[in-house]
């Protein structure tokens, strides 16, 4: 379970103060599929960074599995990211030098796991996203949809509590985007992973049972 309690985030740009989040409270249960919507500047990226433990809230608390994780050290954040959070990015962000299997395996290499186990788990995950036969291909040899599948496999391979997908269909055509979205929804059901999709696309949001809308750093409305 995830809970944000009255989270604010203030940035200082020189002497000017910018309040990205003005008090966001949010509760997401395990296994939920949630879309966070909002125009640019609404605070959705900041929300994602805080949920993804890439940033600290200025005030407020963030509970992840009943633990307050709002003010962890860099190392504690990294370890928790490694075990509890999977990222899916708009531009895939695969490492171009590594093949599909090595890309999927990347989170596991930062755990104390043997090379054989890593390979086995990564291969199994590639199978779940339907990319087994492409395991030894590098990203530049794969289509956008295939790359995003590999990225989803990388997000899920460490068995995280939350998958954070930032505009996962943003750089794909609508048909491929649909397929990738289908995959995320299916994995949410079969793997019981909490999936949070950050998007400004109504069609993406409409596929999610719950939609949280942000505007000017505040939660405006929740559907679902």
């Amino acid at each position: 379970m995830i809970e944000l309690r009255n989270v604010t985030k203030t940035y200082w740009m020189g002497k000017s103060r910018h309040e990205a989040l003005k008090g966001v409270s949010l509760q997401i249960d395990t296994g939920e599929l949630v879309a966070i919507m909002g125009a640019s500047g609404s605070g959705k990226t900041t929300t994602m960074n805080i949920l993804g433990l890439l940033d600290h809230p200025t005030t407020g608390e963030y509970y992840l599995n009943e633990q307050d994780v709002s003010q962890l050290s860099h190392n504690q954040q990294a370890t928790l990211r490694n075990h509890s959070i999977g990222f899916v990015f708009q531009s895939f962000f695969l490492l171009s030098r590594l093949d599909a299997l090595q890309n999927v395996a990347l989170p596991l290499t930062y755990r104390n796991v043997g090379a054989k186990t890593i390979k086995k788990q990564a291969m199994a995950m590639l199978g779940k996203v339907g990319m087994s036969e492409w395991w030894n291909h590098r990203p530049n040899e794969l289509s956008g949809g295939q790359q995003q599948r590999v990225a989803i496999a990388r997000a899920l391979v460490g068995d995280p509590n939350i998958v954070l997908a930032d505009e996962p269909t943003g750089s794909l055509d609508s048909k491929t985007g649909q397929a990738v979205l289908d995959l995320l929804i299916q994995l949410n059901k079969t793997e019981k992973t909490t999936v949070i999709i950050i998007t400004h696309d109504e069609r993406v949001a409409s596929r999610c049972p719950r939609v949280v809308k942000l505007r000017d750093g505040l939660v405006m409305e929740e559907d679902g």
């Binding site: 890439l54 990294a78 370890t79 962000f93 989170p107 090379a115």
Partner: protein
């Protein structure tokens, strides 16, 4: 992540930027190579010089007599000097003395056929000098005790070569003029390897019987003695006994001693200084190589910002990122270092082939080169690695 994975990953990353890695390696290669080559050749040169010296034997001792300053002593003392007749007496002071060679060196104008002879230094000597200093005769014979005061002389190989150039192929029996005297050449010496022990150059010298040299100049005095001792002599004790005897014979004279071991030690010291100097010059090029590695690693950090961000997002700690870049720098310099060691040894070997010194493998320079290149890798890799680890994943992952 274990060390093996780290190294594999570093190799993988370095391979993907071949040209850049190659350039960084080149800097370290040249640096390590010069350290290894310079230190190795310096040490081999030392050994070569010492070997030359050691063939002469360490059972030698030289005593140099310096007359007191004139004006502060009486005229009676001023004229006192060692004589040939005192030699057996001096030899008897220690059973460890096998042979004594007194000699006199004089600078006199030497003429042959009306022309001045180049360089000629007159050495008044007995046959013992030839024995101790290993002066061999190419033609004729050495001057002898039996020559008494007959004006016979032996010429050095350089002088003989000069004569040959003037068309005198057989100088035996010819006469040369030393001062106001005419001397008959009775022998030609073989080329003689100079050493720092006997202070005259036999090759450019004219050797005359010691007795005869007295007549050449009023300054002809026995001021130098060479001793050949038994093998493995107790040099300090011999020295003390000779000193006591000479003090008795020549009060008020300054007497100093030299022996090969002393000179070898001085040489070793000088060569050690020289090795340090050369090593430092090599070190400077290694430093430049290290700066090259740092530069290239910094570029690499900038170019791989995105990768660093991705790795951090999937759970790499700052220390993981730091270790990744540090490992790359170390693998890079290690590779350059190993190649540099090979190159350096090759250069040293070529040098020995050219100079005719003896080549053999010395373990210290390659070991030093290895350790230093790894250190350079760690030092030059640390700052870029630190910079990489301090990057903010949010910044690096911001969509373009």
């Amino acid at each position: 992540m274990n060390v093996k994975t780290n190294i594999m990953e570093a190799l993988d990353n370095l391979f993907s930027a071949k040209l850049r890695s190659f350039l960084a390696i080149l800097g370290i290669l040249v640096g390590t190579g010069s350290v290894v080559a310079l230190i190795t050749s310096s040490q081999l040169a030392t050994e070569h010089a010492l070997a030359q010296f050691e063939t002469m034997g360490t059972n030698l001792l030289a005593a140099d007599v310096q007359p007191p300053q004139s004006g502060i002593v009486s005229s009676q003392q001023q004229t006192s000097a060692l004589t040939l007749e005192q030699m057996p007496e001096i030899q008897r002071v220690s059973p460890q003395i096998v042979e004594v060679a007194p000699y006199i060196t004089l600078f006199q104008s030497i003429y042959f056929d009306g022309e001045a002879v180049n360089g000629g230094q007159v050495i008044g000597a007995t046959v013992a000098l030839a024995d101790i200093m290993n002066i061999r005769i190419a033609k004729g014979r050495f001057v002898s005790y039996l020559d008494r005061s007959n004006p016979y002389c032996v010429i050095g190989s350089s002088i003989a070569a000069d004569f040959a150039a003037k068309g005198v192929s057989d100088p035996l029996g010819k006469q040369i003029q030393i001062g106001d005297w005419l001397f008959t050449i009775v022998g030609v010496a073989q080329p003689w390897a100079s050493n720092w022990f006997f202070l005259a150059d036999v090759n450019k010298g004219v050797i005359v019987p010691l007795d005869v040299s007295y007549s050449l100049s009023q300054y002809a005095k026995i001021n130098n003695l060479l001793f050949r001792l038994v093998p493995n002599p107790d040099i300090p004790s011999v020295q003390a006994m000779v000193l006591r005897e000479l003090k008795k014979l020549l009060p008020n004279h300054n007497i100093s001693f030299r022996n090969p071991e002393q000179i070898i030690n001085i040489m070793k010291n000088q060569q050690a200084t020289f090795t340090w100097l050369l090593g430092s010059i090599g070190g400077i090029s290694l430093l430049v190589g290290g700066i090259g590695v740092m530069n290239i690693m910094l570029v690499s950090v900038v170019e791989r910002r995105r990768e660093i961000g991705i790795r951090m997002a999937v759970g790499a700690r700052r220390s993981d990122i730091r270790r990744m870049f540090l490992m790359e720098a170390v693998v890079l310099t290690l590779f350059g270092g190993l190649l540099g060691i090979i190159l350096g040894l090759l250069c040293a070997w070529i040098l020995t082939e050219v100079t005719g010194w003896e080549f053999h493998f010395l373990i210290t320079p390659p070991l030093l080169g290895f350790v230093v290149s790894v250190l350079v890798g760690i030092i030059s890799g640390f700052y870029p690695a630190h910079r990489a680890s301090k990057l903010d994943p949010i910044e690096t992952l911001r969509s373009e």
